[in-house]
């Protein structure tokens, strides 16, 4: 090759490597004519599917008899987080000097308080008030509620034990030198009740330091998590049909959480927990595992009949059996993303089940010559149990997930099939199911 050739080739490479005519804006406008944003067109269809699935879930739960017949009272304790940065602690010598109240109890609203530190003059006493973010809670035993946070010179407070009372966090603060600068609307001190934790007593400074430490630790943990974690969380709702040979398929629903841990680039290990309501209904063909229970119920019913009943004339027919299981599902699955784009995956795994409640209803007709001249009567027997049983790997999971990106997060449509590997519940029902999970995957960490 001649030198001139080489030079020309080099010059062509240099000149055309970044041939910018300054009309990129115009070029983009041209491109947009051919390439409209397609996300807006697609999303409503997906969202409608999501809404439909959610409605099914709500309807399924609403009409579930488990919720109609058995009321469970769940007590929850509202423990709201209180944030108190240590650097907001200030002292106010003036307020100490001008204070008059003894052993005042400080009460502040239960909800979390944004730390603020500022000073203002007490218009009643003329003392300089330091408002520090000392936290306590509403004490609702009195007629009046303190409407305003109470001020305390934190530096001089020694014994601010924290305790809980009826779900409300109560903190009391005692003032060492019998002085306080607490101001509430009205005479708050008369209407507040002092409660102290009997065992653990921390000084305010220790308490605040401890809280600050907790905050700092949690922040560090979050940062570490964002930097290193390849774990994402799915929230899912699912609607599905349970089925078994010769029984009527019933729509059921579930909801839960999944954690996904990336194992390799294309393989993700997924595990989680969910609550689901499973309904099965058998007409005329009662599963063999249930027959003995049903006959036991029938015999029990017959024993209530008059003592001279002719038992031999009793017969059963038109039997039916309904089961309602409120379960905790513990799925473990491996997801494989076959494409680089990772827009869908194939998942397989196992599901274990624990039971929150089980309810079995047997319906049958029986007749006895001694009762109503042998006319058939309808009988119903019900068996219930709660928090009983755990079946490991009682079903397999085979699923396909289709991902739809929404910002950094992902909406996943996951049709699945769960063939029975074992049995479910006290009655050893062998149930397979098929349905659709709608999952929302939170992916906070940047790739």
């Amino acid at each position: 090759m001649k030198a001139s050739d080489e030079e020309l080739i080099e010059q062509i490479k240099v000149v055309f490597n970044d041939y910018d005519d300054g009309l990129s804006e115009q070029g983009w406008t041209e491109l947009r004519k051919k390439f409209p944003e397609k996300g807006n067109k697609k999303l409503p269809i997906w969202w409608l599917s999501g809404v439909a699935a959610s409605l099914l879930l709500v309807a399924g739960l609403y009409f579930g008899e488990v919720f109609n017949t058995e009321k469970t009272i769940i007590e929850t304790v509202n423990n709201k987080k209180v944030e108190i940065p240590s650097d907001t602690i200030i002292s106010s010598p003036k307020s100490r000097n001008n204070s008059t109240t003894e052993n005042n109890v400080v009460a502040i609203e239960n909800s979390s308080v944004t730390p603020k530190t500022y000073q203002k003059t007490n218009k009643f006493s003329g003392s300089l008030i330091t408002e520090a973010p000392v936290i306590a809670s509403n004490i609702q035993t009195g007629n009046k509620e303190p409407e305003k946070s109470v001020v305390a010179p934190v530096e001089i407070v020694k014994n601010p034990p924290a305790a809980t009372d009826n779900g409300n966090m109560v903190a009391t603060v005692k003032v060492e030198n019998n002085q306080t600068t607490g101001i509430t609307q009205g005479d708050v001190t008369k209407n507040t009740i002092e409660k102290e934790a009997p065992s653990v007593k921390l000084s305010t400074e220790e308490f605040l330091n401890k809280e600050s430490q907790k905050l700092a630790n949690s922040k560090n943990k979050n940062i570490e998590k964002n930097n290193t974690s390849k774990t994402t969380i799915d929230v899912f709702t699912g609607t599905f049909f349970n089925y078994h040979d010769k029984h009527e398929a019933k729509l059921s629903a579930g909801v839960g959480l999944n954690a996904n841990v990336q194992v390799t680039k294309n393989v993700v290990f997924s595990f989680g927990a969910g609550i689901s309501q499973n309904k099965v209904s058998y007409e005329n063909q009662v599963p063999t595992t249930v027959v003995s229970s049903m006959f036991a119920a029938r015999d029990n019913a017959m024993s209530l009949a008059p003592s001279n009943s002719v038992y031999s004339a009793t017969a059963t027919n038109d039997v039916s059996f309904n089961g309602q299981l409120l379960t905790i599902d513990l799925p473990m699955a491996v997801k494989f993303y076959p494409t680089k784009k990772q827009d869908f995956y194939i998942s397989t795994g196992i599901n274990s089940t624990s039971y929150l409640s089980q309810k079995y209803t047997y319906n049958y007709n029986w007749s006895n010559f001694e009762v109503k001249n042998g006319e058939a009567q309808q009988r119903q027997e019900t068996e219930k149990s709660t928090f009983r049983g755990f079946d490991f790997a009682n079903s397999a999971i085979i699923a396909i997930g289709i991902n739809q990106n929404i910002g950094r997060n992902t909406l996943i449509f996951e049709p699945y099939y769960k063939p029975a590997l074992g049995t479910m519940g006290d009655k050893n029902l062998r149930i397979s199911s098929a349905g659709l999970n709608l999952k929302f995957n939170f992916n906070g960490a940047k790739k």
Binding site: M1, K2, S4, D5, E7, L8, I9, E10, Q11, I12, K13, V15, F16, N17, D18, Y19, D20, D21, S24, E25, G27, W28, E30, L31, K34, F35, E37, K38, G39, T339, K340, K341, Q342, D343, N405, G407, R408, K446, K447
Partner: protein, 182 residues
């Protein structure tokens, strides 16, 4: 390193179909894309159309792009293939200009390293389509004669011949018109 991370983030957003980041990618590689397309199509409007079609292909298939690899070589392949497709579609296999035709006045510059894009494009117009395409593919974009043969559906030996003729023609142009006067 930071630049690479930033670029990967840009690609990541483009994979999610974020239009704003697609626009950023477009503007960042607009010049690069146009520079390649115009060498093959020799016309700004055709080149822009091919470049835009290439970008659309990129946006649609960027999910398959692995961020660990360089973007430019991947994009270059798309640009070259799209340009060749446009050439085939338009069926504009125009005859080369006679060497006696006028060389643009801008080519009177004293040295090759002073040649502008317009000068080079003017020179290229004097090559026939196949010569120009083979020259671009082999010398500028680094394809082998075997690859060129399969891309243009011509024998490998023909590719060599077209390249030789293209170079001869360019050499003649440069000397005849005193472009190369060192």
């Amino acid at each position: 390193m930071r630049e690479k991370q930033g670029f990967n983030e840009l690609i990541s957003y483009c994979k999610q179909g974020n239009l704003r980041y697609q626009e950023l990618l477009y503007k960042q590689f607009y010049g690069y894309a146009l520079g390649i397309c115009i060498r093959y199509l020799n016309n700004r409007d055709d080149a822009l159309e091919a470049a835009n079609d290439s970008f659309i292909k990129v946006f649609k298939s960027i999910g398959s792009f692995n961020e660990e690899n360089d973007f430019k070589p991947w994009f270059r392949k798309i640009l070259v293939n799209t340009s060749l497709d446009h050439k085939r579609k338009s069926m504009r296999f125009s005859e080369a200009l006679e060497l006696t035709d006028t060389i643009p006045q801008t080519t009177h510059t004293s040295a090759i390293d002073k040649l502008s894009a317009q000068d080079i494009l003017a020179l290229m117009k004097h090559l026939n389509e196949l010569q120009r395409t083979v020259f671009n593919l082999y010398e500028i974009d680094g394809y082998s004669h075997k690859e060129i043969g399969s891309m243009l559906n011509i024998p490998e030996s023909s590719s060599r011949t077209y390249l030789t003729r293209a170079k001869q023609a360019l050499q003649q142009l440069l000397t005849t018109h005193s472009i190369y006067t060192r």
